[in-house]
């Protein structure tokens, strides 16, 4: 009996290992942005086809602000069709998808838009001011802004159809 207790030694390591295994369930992509719940910083940009676009002019609509770059392979390439699909599906219901292209070359970015046939507004952020205001770490990052102009969610990495739908349905269900 007295000799049995020493086998507790290997057993004692199990809780620590279990805790580490638990770590897999978490996603480091979920790092909460301190900006969630705060009003989105206002900005005014000019789209690639020369039209002005500003956050203020979109007040009253749900805005998906997506930061991307043409060199961001593969994530930006994966999400571009998703965003286009979402835009076509939801635009009638008061949703605007707005792409902000950062740290990029104009020709490459225009080719990207052409290749994917993107029809939602896309604007370059040459000074990087908008991405700094939104606290962007890397591309792609996507912010969901509600009708009252507050950032309500942040998604790091490629958006999927499911993420887009969940967030948009939630924000559209709220009264303005």
């Amino acid at each position: 009996m007295r000799r049995g207790w020493r086998w507790l030694l290997p057993l004692s390591a199990i809780p620590v290992l279990a805790l580490l295994a638990y770590g897999f369930r978490l996603s480091p992509r979920d790092i909460p942005s301190p900006l969630v719940g705060k009003p989105a910083a206002p900005f005014a940009l000019q789209t690639f086809d020369g039209r002005p676009v500003s956050l203020d002019s979109l007040r009253g609509q749900v805005v998906v602000v997506n930061f991307w770059a043409s060199w961001c392979y593969p994530a930006c390439y994966e999400e571009a069709p998703v965003l286009e699909r979402g835009w076509r599906e939801y635009r009638e219901r008061g949703v605007v998808v707005l792409g902000v292209d950062i740290q990029d070359k104009t020709e490459a970015a225009e080719k990207f838009i052409r290749d994917f046939g993107l029809t939602f507004p896309n604007a370059p952020d040459p000074a990087g001011k908008v991405s700094v205001d939104f606290g962007v770490y890397g591309v792609p990052e996507t912010f969901f802004v509600d009708r009252r102009g507050r950032i309500r969610a942040k998604h790091v990495g490629a958006v999927t159809d499911r993420v887009l739908r969940e967030q948009l349905d939630r924000l559209l269900a709220e009264s303005s």
């Binding site: 030694l9 290997p10 580490l20 770590g23």
Partner: protein, 648 residues
């Protein structure tokens, strides 16, 4: 063809390593020499194959072979020659290749060195080494494939992470991995000792040099990492308690504890169980560190990537920890101590305390590192543990360790008499207190700084007292001064090598103390021609220039630094814009000095060069940290030389 040949070599190496491990274990339990010989051949084969894979990867990098996905993602046509070689370990997959190669090399050295002098332990050692190697080859073949074909072949690659384009990145990972993989050897010997039941002193004596080598490379890796952080990242610090720094620091702490505790086993036949446990712990912590960096479980600036690789490492970690602990439980009776602690005031207890403090420090670091995970599992909250926690809990431990560094080497074994204490420690205590008092009078008000300084002087004095006394003894025997001192260092190289390493640690301690207590900084915007002043230094903004480099665009500022001497130095901090990075990278410029570094970072600037924002730091005593590293190197080399005491 490169991706296919490389992947093939990895696959064959994996099978060979698995076979060799099983054959060595079978040879060990059946005593059949032919199996063991065959395992040795397998070890050689694995080394050759991994060398070929590494060579192939280097070749692919040098020839811009973008058909290899890893090459395409970590280099581009503008990457300079040297960084194309270091890009080999610039990301996850390649770093595993380097790791496996070092392990294969160590395995081969073990075969060459120990096949004759450790007949009982050696077969199991080989089985463990090849088993660990097989795991890393499995990672290379599975979740982190370095040889993956890129279709279609791009015209140019993405490029290396610009922060890694630095000479520190040539040496830092290499040293760190040599340290990490180096601890596999003592671990393999410990497992062999448990498997054979020969848990006495043989494995300790055989692995002393191995442990020293691993410990040294780990120390050097940590220091070079600090140097890289200091001169590349631009925040003016060298240590941030980042999870990945902690990951390398924890095995260093337990490895240091092990280096000291083996001396008690050699002398007093004590601590067998403790020593085996420390080696298992150290090796497990190296795996844990790799798990931490590679799994993405804990958010960190170093985290490479996520994917199934984390699960692989955790599985292997579990296998290692559970098997080792089960072996320890199995050999429990044989591991129980024979010696007894005679007195609390003795060298044994000083060493024991040293071990307790080192392991306690490792534990607090571990706790702080995984606490965010624990908090989320229990309370569902995201928290982060920062530098204040680590500093607070570790500071008293480190100060106590500095004190013990002075006590341990001089206090008597078994039971120290009052006479022994007075003879060895009266003078150092008085001098330490006097030094602190002198500092107080000179104007240092911080109690912490005074305590650190006093303790450091105390410990340095004990080392000096001992060395002087030993030299005097030799002088009385008629030797000349130079011969007496040289003879001491060489004949008692292990003891005095350790002393030199301790001096290196003390110098580092002073550097850390000084940089915390006395560094100053300012942030200001200057118009062209304008001057700012900090701590006696005047810095004048002379203008901005821009130029295109091979793989980035660079804006360079010119600043003239003067103190009592006009035009002391011209500094060129810069901002580098890489097309593949969204934020510009700061290029720090600095003027290192023995007591003060002028450290200049360029912030925002006007495009026309009319004004620029700078961060100016005067960092005190930081250079002592690097000097300490050099002293540690000298000490380790001295300690590792073959002992001549008996021969001479």
């Amino acid at each position: 063809m490169t991706p296919e040949i490389g992947a093939g070599a990895v696959m064959v190496a994996l099978l060979l390593a698995l076979y060799g491990s099983v054959a060595a274990a079978a040879g060990a339990s059946t005593g059949r020499t032919s199996l063991l010989l065959s395992a040795q051949h397998a070890a050689l084969g694995v080394f050759l194959l991994v060398t070929a894979a590494l060579g192939l990867l280097v070749y692919a990098f040098l020839t811009f072979d973008f058909s290899v996905r890893y090459v395409a993602t970590n280099t581009n046509l503008g990457t300079p020659f040297y960084y194309r070689i270091t890009a080999v370990w610039g990301a996850l997959e390649g770093s595993i290749v380097l790791w496996a190669w070092m392990l294969a090399l160590y395995t081969l050295i073990v075969v060459v060195r120990h096949r004759q002098n450790a007949r009982e332990l050696y077969p199991w050692v080989l089985a463990v080494m090849l088993g660990v190697l097989a795991f890393f080859l499995l990672v290379m073949a599975g979740p982190a494939p370095v040889f993956q074909r890129m279709i279609p072949v791009p015209n140019d690659g993405r490029g290396l992470n610009p922060l890694l384009e630095d000479t520190g990145m040539i040496t830092h990972p290499v040293c760190l991995y040599l340290g990490f993989t180096g601890f596999t050897v003592p671990f393999a010997f410990a497992v062999a000792a448990l498997a054979t039941g020969r848990v006495g002193d043989t494995w300790i004596a055989l692995t002393r040099r191995w442990t020293l080598v691993a410990w040294y490379f780990l120390s050097l890796g940590l220091l070079i990492g600090g140097w890289w952080s200091y001169h590349v990242l631009g925040w003016g610090g060298y240590w941030a308690w980042d999870p990945v720094e902690n990951a390398a620091f924890m095995p260093w702490l337990t490895g240091t504890a092990f280096l000291h505790s083996v001396m008690i086993q050699e002398r007093r036949r004590m601590l067998k169980l403790w020593n085996i446990s420390l080696v298992v712990l150290t090796f497990s912590l190296t795996l844990f560190g790799t798990f931490l960096t590679r799994s993405g479980v804990i958010a960190s600036v170093h985290a490479f990537t996520q994917g199934s690789i984390g699960a692989f490492f955790l599985g292997f970690l579990a296998l290692v920890v559970l098997t080792s602990l089960a072996l320890i439980a199995w050999r429990w009776d044989a591991l129980r101590a024979q010696g007894e602690l005679d007195s609390v005031v003795s060298r044994e207890s000083a060493f024991l305390l040293n071990n307790v403090f080192l392991v306690a420090s490792a534990f607090t670091v571990f706790f702080g590192t995984v606490f965010p995970l624990l908090a989320e599992a229990v309370r569902g909250e995201k928290v982060s543990v920062g530098a204040p926690f680590f500093n607070l809990v570790n500071l008293p431990l480190f100060l106590a360790l500095i004190f013990l560094m002075g006590v341990g080497p001089l206090i008597a074994w078994r039971r120290a008499s009052l006479e022994n204490l007075r003879r060895n420690f009266l003078a150092p205590v008085v001098i330490g207190i006097a030094a602190a008092a002198l500092f107080r009078v000179a104007g240092t008000a911080s109690a912490l700084t005074l305590l650190t300084f006093g303790l450091t002087v105390f410990t340095a004095t004990t080392l000096g007292v001992d060395f002087t006394r030993a030299t005097r003894a030799r002088l009385r025997m008629g030797e000349r001064l130079g011969a007496a001192m040289g003879g001491l260092l060489i004949r008692h190289n292990r003891r005095y090598g350790g002393f030199v390493v301790h001096i290196g640690i003390l110098v580092i301690a002073l550097g850390v103390m000084g940089s915390h207590a006395w560094s100053v900084q300012t942030e200001t915007t200057l118009k062209r021609g304008e001057t700012t002043e900090l701590a006696g230094y005047k810095v004048r903004f002379d203008g901005l220039a821009a130029r295109q480099e091979s793989n980035h665009f660079k804006v360079v500022g010119t600043f003239t630094v003067s103190n009592h001497r006009p035009n002391l130095a011209v500094l060129h901090p810069s901002k580098k814009f890489y097309p593949q990075e969204q934020a510009p990278i700061a290029g720090v410029d600095y003027r290192l000095g023995l007591t003060e570094d002028v450290y200049l970072v360029l912030g925002d600037f006007a495009r026309d060069g009319s004004h620029a924002t700078i961060k100016l730091q005067i960092n005190r005593l930081v250079s002592w940290i690097w000097v300490g590293g050099v002293i540690i190197t000298l000490g380790t080399v001295l300690a590792i030389l073959p002992e001549r005491r008996r021969a001479g």
